[in-house]
C-alpha cells in the first residue's frame, strides 16, 4: 500500500502533478460515492455528486482540510454540500461534465438513499455533523477538524440535530443515531 498521505499527494498535485490528484480520486471515490448514494435519490445523481465533489476540491485547493493527513472527511463534507444542490454544482462544471459519457442509468438507489429526506429537516451545518457522525462514523474530534469548528460546537450541533430528528420526522435515521 502506498504510504503517501493525501496531504503529500495534494502537495504534488498543487505542483502540477495530475496523477497525484488521480491517486487521491482512486483512494476516495468509492467512499464518496457510497456517501452520496445516501444523500441523493438516484445513482446518476450520486455519480455526478462524486465528479463535482472532486472538481470542487480542486477549485478550493488552497482551502481543503486534512484530518490526520486524510482528505476524506473534507471530501464527505463537500459531497454533502454538493448533494444539497446537485444541479447548481453541475451547472458550474457544465462544460467539463458534458464531455463525460452518460453515467450508468437508473440503478435503483440503495435503501439508505432516502436519508436525504430525513436530513432535510436539518440545517446544512447540522446535516454535516450528522452525516459525518452517524453515517460515516467519524469522531467528534475528526469532525471538528474537517469542518474547522470547535469540538464543543460539534457536540452541541450533534445533540440539537438528534433532538430534531427525534421529533418524529425521521424515525429510520433516529434508530441509527441511537446506536
Amino acid at each position: 500500500m502506498d504510504a503517501a498521505t493525501d496531504a503529500s499527494l495534494w502537495a504534488s498535485a498543487l505542483a502540477g502533478d495530475g496523477e497525484a490528484f488521480g491517486q487521491i480520486f482512486d483512494r476516495h471515490r468509492d467512499r464518496v460515492l457510497r456517501h452520496s448514494l445516501r444523500l441523493v435519490p438516484s445513482w446518476h445523481d450520486a455519480e455526478e455528486v462524486v465528479a463535482v465533489t472532486f472538481l470542487e476540491a480542486w477549485r478550493k485547493r488552497d482551502r481543503v482540510r486534512f484530518v490526520d493527513g486524510s482528505l476524506l472527511p473534507w471530501l464527505l463534507v463537500t459531497a454533502t454540500n454538493v448533494a444539497r444542490n446537485v444541479s447548481r454544482g453541475a451547472r458550474r462544471y457544465a462544460a467539463l461534465l458534458e464531455k463525460l459519457p452518460a453515467p450508468l442509468a437508473s440503478i435503483p438507489s440503495s435503501t439508505e438513499g432516502s436519508a436525504i429526506e430525513a436530513l432535510r429537516v436539518l440545517s446544512l451545518s447540522d446535516r454535516q455533523v450528522i452525516t459525518l457522525s452517524v453515517l460515516e462514523g467519524f469522531s467528534e474530534a475528526e469532525i471538528a477538524a474537517a469542518l474547522g469548528i470547535a469540538r464543543g460546537t460539534v457536540k452541541s450541533r450533534l445533540s440539537r440535530a438528534k433532538k430534531r430528528l427525534a421529533s418524529g420526522l425521521a424515525p429510520a435515521l433516529l434508530e441509527r443515531t441511537s446506536s
Binding site: G18, V50, R63, L104, L147, I149, T153
Partner: protein, 249 residues
Amino acid sequence: MSNDYNAAVRRMLVDNVSVRRQVPRRALVVGALIFAISGAATGGAVAAIAPGSERPVEPYVIGTPANDFTTTPLDYFGETVVRTGTGDETFDLGERPNGATLLAVEFQCTSPGEFSWKPADFETEGHQTYTCTEERIAAGPAADAARITYELGAGSHSFVVEAGPNATWTLSTTWARPRPIEWKTNDSGQTYGMRKSDDTVPDLLAQVGTNEVGNSVEGYLRSAELGRPGVLKLYASDGVTVVGNFRND
C-alpha cells in the same frame, strides 16, 4: 461507479490539474491595518485591487461613521480581509482574536443575482439575502454595501457565501468589538452621550425624537427628566437649546 464513467472522471480531473490555468481563481487581498484597537472613531477605507480580477475593486468602507446616535460604535481589530469570489464559497475566517467579540461584514455584489451569506456556525437567523440589480451595482459599494455584525464565540470560524454560478461578489470582514462608550462635556460642564453598558447615563442622554414638523431629529434628554412619562424636551448638546420632543412611554 460505472467503469467508463469512472475512468472519464479520473481523466478529466487529472487533466484539470495537469493543465493548470494561469489565471488566479480567487483573489484574497489583505488590506492594510486600518484600525488600531483604540483607532479612529469612524470607518476607514481599504483600497484593494484584486489580482486577476477584471475590474479593480473600489475602496471599501467598513462600518458606518459612528456618532452618539448609531447603536453600536465599534473598534476594529487587525486587518480587513477583502475577498472576491464567484458563485458559492466557504472560507476560513481563522481564529477570533483575543478581545474581539464581533465580526463586521460588508458584502457587495459585482454582478446581478441572488446572494446570501452567513458565518457557517450561524443557523438561518444569521442568513442575509441580497438581490442585486444593475442599478445597485452602478450605485457603487459605498452607496449600497450591506453591512452587518455577527457575534461569534472564541475559536475558529468559517463563512459561507451562496450565489449563482457566475455571480461575482466582494466580501470584507474585520474582527471587532463594541467600543466602550465615552462621554463628552459641554461648556456648562454637563456630560453628554450614550448610555454605557453598565446602564449609567450622562447628564444629557443621546436620543432620537421628532421636531415640530414631525421629522426625526437627534438630540439629548436631560437625565433628571428620564423617569417622567409623557413628552420630554429634546435638547442640543448645550443642554439648553430645544430641538424637538421625545415621547417617553
